[in-house]
C-alpha cells in the first residue's frame, strides 16, 4: 500500500480496516453456510423437525437426545466409525512414514515414487469404489482369485462377510489416501537438517539407527499433524462405504454419517438427524481439541 511511505492518521485508520475488509466476503460465506446451518442443527435437535413438513415442528425438548443416546444403532454406527478410524489411521500413519523415508533415500527417480504414491489420491471416491467393487467382487473378482493362488480354497466374501467388509473397505481407503500423508512426511523430511544426519553418521550411527533415533523423533510434529488430520478424516467417512456396501452386510459397515443421512433424508426425521450430527460434531471437536493441547505442550517443551 502506498501509504506506508507517508503515514498519516487517516491512512492508518484505512490500514486498520483493510484486513477485516478483505476478510469480509469469506466471513459472510462462513456465517451463511457454516455458522447458520450449525445454529439450525442445534435448534432442530430440540424439535421434531420433519423433512415432509415446513417449519421446525413440535417442540421436543431433550427427547431426541434421550432417544439417540438410548438407540443401539447410534452406538453401533459410532463403533463402526471408530473401528474404521483405527483400521485406517494406524497403517496410514506408519506406512506413509515408512514409504516417505524409503522414497526419500532415492536420489534418482524420486519424482517417480512421489508421483506413484500420490497418484491414487487424486482419483474421486466414486472411481475408487467402482474399482474396488470389481476387485472385491464375489465369484469373479480379482481379490478372491489372488487368495486362491495362495492356496486358500474358499476365500472370504470380501464385501459380503460382516467380519471382512470393513477391513476390505479400509484397505481400499489406505491405498487411495496414503499419498496425502506421504507428501506431508516428505515435506517434513526436507526440514531435517543435513548436519544432524552427518553428526549422527560421524558418531557411528548406521542407517537404521539414524532413522530410529534422529529422523523419526524430528518428524514428531508432522506425525501429530498427520495423525490428527487422518483421525478427523476417518471419522467423517461416508462416500466409499455408501458406494461399496451401503453400510451392509447387515449394517456391519454403516458409519455414523450414514445414520445421519438415512434418518434425515430417507426417513425425513431432520430433528433426530440433527441431534446425531451434533453429537458426532462434538466427538470430532473433542479430537481436534486434544490435538491443540498436544501441539501446545510440544511447543512448550521445545
Amino acid at each position: 500500500m502506498a501509504t506506508t511511505t507517508a503515514p498519516s492518521s487517516t491512512s492508518s485508520r484505512g490500514d486498520r480496516w483493510a484486513g477485516p475488509g478483505m476478510l469480509l466476503p469469506f466471513a459472510l460465506f462462513y456465517l451463511v453456510f457454516l455458522v447458520g446451518p450449525l445454529i439450525y442443527t442445534v435448534v432442530a435437535g430440540f424439535f421434531e423437525t420433519s423433512l415432509l413438513k415446513s417449519g421446525l415442528g413440535d417442540f421436543a425438548g431433550l427427547t431426541n437426545y434421550k432417544e439417540v443416546l438410548g438407540d443401539a444403532e447410534f452406538w453401533r454406527t459410532l463403533r463402526n466409525t471408530l473401528w474404521f478410524t483405527v483400521l485406517t489411521t494406524v497403517p496410514l500413519v506408519l506406512l506413509s512414514l515408512a514409504l516417505a523415508v524409503l522414497a526419500d533415500r532415492f536420489v534418482r527417480g524420486r519424482w517417480f515414487f512421489r508421483f506413484a504414491f500420490f497418484a491414487p489420491f487424486v482419483l474421486p471416491s466414486a472411481v475408487i469404489s467402482l474399482l474396488f467393487m470389481f476387485i472385491y467382487a464375489d465369484q469373479l473378482g480379482l481379490a478372491q482369485e489372488a487368495v486362491k493362488w495362495f492356496g486358500v480354497e474358499t476365500p472370504p466374501s470380501w464385501l459380503g462377510d460382516p467380519d471382512w467388509a470393513m477391513i476390505s473397505i479400509a484397505a481400499a481407503t489406505v491405498w487411495w489416501t496414503i499419498g496425502f500423508n506421504f507428501v506431508l512426511y516428505l515435506a517434513g523430511l526436507q526440514d531435517v537438517p543435513r548436519e544432524v544426519h552427518e553428526a549422527a553418521a560421524i558418531d557411528g550411527a548406521g542407517p537404521w539407527q539414524r532413522i530410529r533415533h534422529v529422523v523419526v523423533p524430528m518428524l514428531g510434529r508432522t506425525t501429530t499433524l498427520v495423525t490428527v488430520l487422518q483421525i478427523i478424516a476417518s471419522l467423517k467417512v461416508f462416500d466409499q462405504i455408501y458406494m461399496m456396501t451401503s453400510g451392509g452386510p447387515d449394517g456391519s459397515t454403516r458409519p455414523s454419517l450414514q445414520l445421519i443421512y438415512d434418518t434425515g433424508f430417507v426417513e425425513g426425521r431432520v430433528g433426530y438427524a440433527s441431534t446425531v450430527s451434533l453429537l458426532l460434531f462434538l466427538v470430532i471437536l473433542f479430537v481436534s481439541l486434544v490435538w491443540f493441547a498436544l501441539v501446545r505442550r510440544a511447543e512448550k517443551e521445545n
Binding site: L52, A137, D138, L159, G160, P162, D250, F265, E267
Partner: protein
Amino acid sequence: MRDRIPTPSPPAPSRRRVLRGGLALGATGAAALTVGGCGSTIAQGFTGGAPSPSRLNFWNPFTGGDGERMLAMQDAYRAAHRSTELKSATFLWGNPYYTKLTLATLGDRPPQVAVVHLSKLPTLAEAGLLTELHTEDLARHGLTEDKFDARPWRKSQFGGAPHAVPLDTHPFVLYFRTDIAKKAGLLDGQGQLVDVDGPDAFIDALRAAKEVTGAWGGSIASVKEASMQFRLFWSLYRQVGGGDLVADQGKRVVIDTAAAAEALAYIRRLSQEKVIPANTDGKGAITLLTTGKAGFLMDGVWQALAVQSAKVKFDMRPLPRVFKDAPYACAADSHALVLPKAPTESAQRLDLSLGFVASMLHSSKLWSEGGHVPAWLPTQRSRAYKELVPQSHYATAADGAVYDPAAWYGGAGSTMQNVVGDAVTSVFTGDTSATAGAARMRRELRDLASRPAPV
C-alpha cells in the same frame, strides 16, 4: 413478470426485495437474450413466480434404459403438442429424488408432473404433498378406471380418492437360461419350464441347473441389496399367508412371526443346499446368469434389458409359487404420475398436466419394452404387447403383485426394506436362525413403529 422494480418510497427496501428486484431485472435481461425464454426457469425458481402458461415441468428418476424410453415418450408428446414447452428433469433414482421432490413442493416450486413409486404414495399423500385428482377431470382426458390394471389403480387411491395415475407394475420375477434349462431337462415341448412350483420342486429345478452349469443353480443379489432380499422374503411371506407386516400407516406391528419363520427357513434352504450363492451383489447376480454360471436369476423385471444386452438365450416367468397356503403373491411396485401440490391453481394448470399424463400412458408400449408390465389395459391387452418377448411372458405376475406395507418408514429404498432385508440376509448366509430372524424383524419393526412419525 410479476415483480415490479421496487419503488423508492419505503425508507429501506428489505434484502429480499432488493434480491428479487435484481433477479427480476436479470431474468428480464436473460429472457430478452434467449428468444425462447428458457433462461427464466432459474429466475422463476428464485422469484417464485408461476412458469409461463405453455411451460410444463416434469420430473422423473429414470436413467439408463428406462431413461432412454422415457425420453422417447417425451418426444412423442412434443411431436403432438408443439405449443407446449416440455421441460423434463431427470434425477438419480431413490432417496435423493424423493428429497428433492419433497423440498421443491414444500418450497412452492414443484414440477407440474412427477413420477413416484406407488409404495411411497401413502406417505407423500399423508404429508399433503400431492394434488388430489378428481374422476371427472381424469375422465375428460380418457383416464377412466376401466382402462387400468386393478391393483395399481387401487394402490393409487388415498383416502378414497385417486392421487396418482399408475404407469406400470414391476414385479419380482424369475429369469432363466433356456439353453441351460433345456440341458437340465426342465423344458417342455413349448419351451416352458416344467413344474417349478412348490418348495421341493423349485430347489430340484435349481439343483438340476447346477449340475449343468457346474457352479450354481440360480442367483440373487444379497450383498449391498437389502431391498432385493426384502422382495424375496416379502413374496414368500405373502405366499405363506403372513398378511401385512405393519398396520395403521406403520404405527402398529402385525407381523406373523410363525409365517415369517417359515418363509425364512425356506430362504435358508436355498443357500444351505448350495443351489444359490449366499454372497453376490446386484451386478454379480446378473453376471452369473449371463456367463452361464447360474441357470436362474431372481430379480426385478427392470433388468430385462441388461440381460438381453448380454445376447444369451433366456426367458422370464413369474416367481414360482413356492407356498400354496394363500393366493399367489410376488413383491412388486409401480411407477405412477402425480401432480405435486402447487401453490396456485394457475401454477398447476390441471388440464395441461393431465394431457401430458394421458400422453405418457398412450406411450405404454414403449415403456413396457423396458420390462415393466403396463398398467394401461389397452396396451396390456394389445397384440403388440402379447408379441413382446420375454416381456409378455410374466405379465400375469402383476395379478399377484403385493406392494410394500404402507408406513412412513416403508416403500421403495426405505428403512423398512433395509432392516427387514438385513435380517433376511443374515438368515440367508446362515448367521441367524429362521426363528431368530423373524423375532429380529418384529423387534426392529416395533422399534421403528415407536418413533415419532415425520408426517
